[in-house]
């Protein structure tokens, strides 16, 4: 009996320390997510203005011939950039993103394209390495606090592959997690290049586009604009992924803390039960012993 009490108490202590850790992780994630959302908001003006500028250039010139907007006739290789986190403790965050990337790989394979993988985040790198999947380039160490320099580095690598004459890629896809709200984050796969130009009669969602005069010319502007546009898209996706990672972590750690607290409650009841049983047993042993003694002395008299 005494042994069982000791075991239960040891388990309570273990669960308590786990709860402390998960609670701390939850608090860290909560405080960081505010910063991550601020960074997303701060990055918005640049990304919005660039998107508008691209819309303006593309809508103005009827005949654009730019490698970034042209569908290759026989695409053979497609780059897939996958954004994952550096640390675990984030619930299904990485699993969801990686499942989305597997789906995209299948989709590309069905179209007869060979996927070329670019992975950011330690968890994603480990996942691919474990499955013996070839990765062309990997980055890690900035999943929670991505900087524009990180996005530019990734963009440069991807664009080099895209513009390479030999062994290049014909398409660039991005798999990341969209931050919809604190409660909802959705993995998504989208194509970055070539740009899909949609012909619509509807006015642009950002209002009518100004009739810009381009200096020096629409082609030169587009040339300079598109790489920046891709970098800004990747940067924004990285910021969203960071916010999503933190939101997932906060939720996962809150669930873990709640579970640990429930478990502590159950175990405490168990421990009390065991203690009470022990006391009851001791009392009955004493009473039994006393009775036996009384009975013995009564017979001897």
């Amino acid at each position: 009996m005494a042994a069982q009490l000791r075991v239960v108490r040891a388990r309570i202590r273990a669960v308590q320390s786990i709860a402390k850790i998960t609670r701390a992780q939850e608090l860290i994630a909560s405080s960081r997510i505010v910063r991550a959302q601020q960074r997303m908001r701060a990055a918005e003006p640049y990304s919005r203005q660039l998107t508008r500028a691209v819309e303006a250039v593309v809508s103005r010139s009827t005949t654009i011939h730019h490698p970034f907007t042209e569908e290759p006739e026989h695409p053979s290789r497609a780059a897939v950039l996958i954004l994952t986190s550096d640390q675990g403790f984030a619930g299904a965050y990485n699993a969801n993103a990686l499942r989305e990337s597997a789906r995209l790989r299948q989709l590309l394979a069905d179209r007869g394209l060979e996927p070329v993988l670019y992975v950011a985040g330690r968890k994603g790198i480990a996942w691919h390495r474990f499955r013996d999947l070839d990765m062309t380039a990997t980055w890690s160490g900035f999943s929670v606090t991505p900087r524009y320099a990180n996005a530019r580095e990734i963009t440069t690598t991807l664009l080099e592959a895209f513009t390479a004459e030999q062994d290049g890629v014909d398409e660039i896809h991005l798999v990341a997690t969209d931050f919809i709200s604190m409660l909802t984050q959705r993995p998504s796969a989208r194509r970055l290049l070539p740009l899909q130009i949609e012909e619509t009669e509807e006015p642009a969602p950002s209002g009518p586009l100004p009739a810009y005069e381009f200096e020096p010319s629409a082609e030169v502007v587009l040339d300079a604009l598109l790489p920046q546009y891709v970098a800004s898209r990747i940067y924004y996706a990285m910021l969203e992924a960071a916010a999503s990672e933190l939101a997932s972590r906060r939720r996962a750690m809150k669930a873990a803390t709640d579970n640990a607290n429930d478990l502590i409650e159950t175990l405490t009841r168990e421990a009390n039960n065991a203690r009470q049983a022990e006391i009851t047993q001791e009392i009955s042993e004493i009473v039994g012993g006393a009775n036996a003694l009384a009975a013995a002395s009564a017979t001897s008299e």
Binding site: A42, Q49, Y212
Partner: protein, 127 residues
């Protein structure tokens, strides 16, 4: 009539406010923008200065390259790298200029990094 000016870099809005004139340098040459200017979208010269003049004074910034967009009295300077003159760390900028030049070697064309560092020094009034 005033211009609404925003100087934005990828991770934040560096400066925004009202101004009477914006002077920038595109790859084609200097451009001055007053209220009522026709819509223009230009590519900024690498490592140039942007000057925003208003009643409250002049704001100077070094940009490492980017774009200038003018439409409906809204001026946006979009730059991958930019820094306001008063925030420039001159010692650091000079150091980066020297390393960039040393790496490029004599006679070679100045790399963007060097042009940007030079612009930072010019913005801070030390070049």
């Amino acid at each position: 009539m005033t211009l609404h000016v925003a100087l934005v870099v990828p991770d934040r809005e560096l400066w925004s406010g009202e101004a009477s004139i914006v002077i920038a340098k595109t790859t084609e040459g200097d451009i001055g923008v007053l209220a009522g200017h026709s819509p223009v979208f230009g590519v900024l010269a690498e490592g140039s200065l942007v000057e925003i003049q208003s009643d409250q004074g002049t704001v100077r910034a070094a940009v490492g390259g980017g774009f200038l967009s003018v439409a409906d009295d809204e001026v946006s300077v979009l730059a991958a790298q930019a820094e306001l003159a008063e925030e420039v760390d001159t010692a650091q900028a000079r150091e980066r200029l020297d390393t960039a030049l040393a790496e490029a070697g004599p006679g070679a064309e100045e790399p963007t990094e060097a042009k940007y560092a030079r612009a930072q020094l010019r913005a801070a009034g030390q070049a």
